[in-house]
Amino acid sequence: MSGASDRGDSRHLMTSSVATRVLGWVGLASMAVMALLGLVISPRDRIQGEAVRLLYIHVPTIWVAYGSFILTAVASALYLWRGSSREDRGRHYDRLAGAAGEVAVLFLALTLVTGMLWGRITWGVFWQWDARLTTTALMFVSYLGYLAIRNMPAEIEARSRRAAIAALLAAVNIPIVHFSVEWWRTLHQKASIRSDRNSEITGDMFATLMFSLLAFTLVAAWLMIHRYRLVRLEEIREEEGLALAVSARRAEGVNA
């Protein structure tokens, strides 16, 4: 899609629209309610005490990070598989992968930080080289590499292709991180919510966790939409800059 045609539908280019404003305000309100539920209303845990309140931010951040990394992988696969046959040469898939990847890295960083703080309370140390923590740290580093590839100076299609391959390679680590607590003996506790109805969390605490998952998902969706539109604006600016440079060069040729 050319810059000129993109300029034609300028309303779609703004990072803000009525729908995203509504989403943003609902997300913000949900986060406020979530903080109230997590810090004030939900009860203290019989074993973990007040420290359980970190669960309501720690679990949703990794939930959002997993979802966003999976979205990055799917968009990257679609870029490689169907990108060349599309009218926009797969730019949509590439932008989606980039936006989701960046949001995922932010939330994974928050997972690591909140996990370290929680570990300080329950284990007495910020960090242990156990399977869950180590694989999560590796995942964080691999996706930092993915973002670095996206920002490397290169021809846009070559850069997008390299980034898509890196995203697919990095995605291999997602199930390893998730199942690490089942596959190896770890200091990290097993999943709080399970599909076999043996969840370790119930009642008000379960409701608070579910609400937190919803609040973080809304905020992540808002961030992703805005980041996607920002990537699009950056591309148009790049194209306009190139077009200006070409026309200036042509004008020089005419005057010479």
Partner: protein
Amino acid sequence: MDSWGTILLGYGITFGAIGVYAYSILSRSRTIGHELGIGVPESSARPHLAGPGDLDEPDSDRSPRR
């Protein structure tokens, strides 16, 4: 640090980081939007992106003063 201090630090870092990231996205998009003249009133658009019609505006500051 007691557990409440650590808990509040965790919430503060989480909300703070999300807020800073959201602000950086909005700020950058507003800057680029102004550069490209997208989504801003015509009068606020940068001069090099303004259409040629602006130069012929009778009430423009560029009009010769008597």
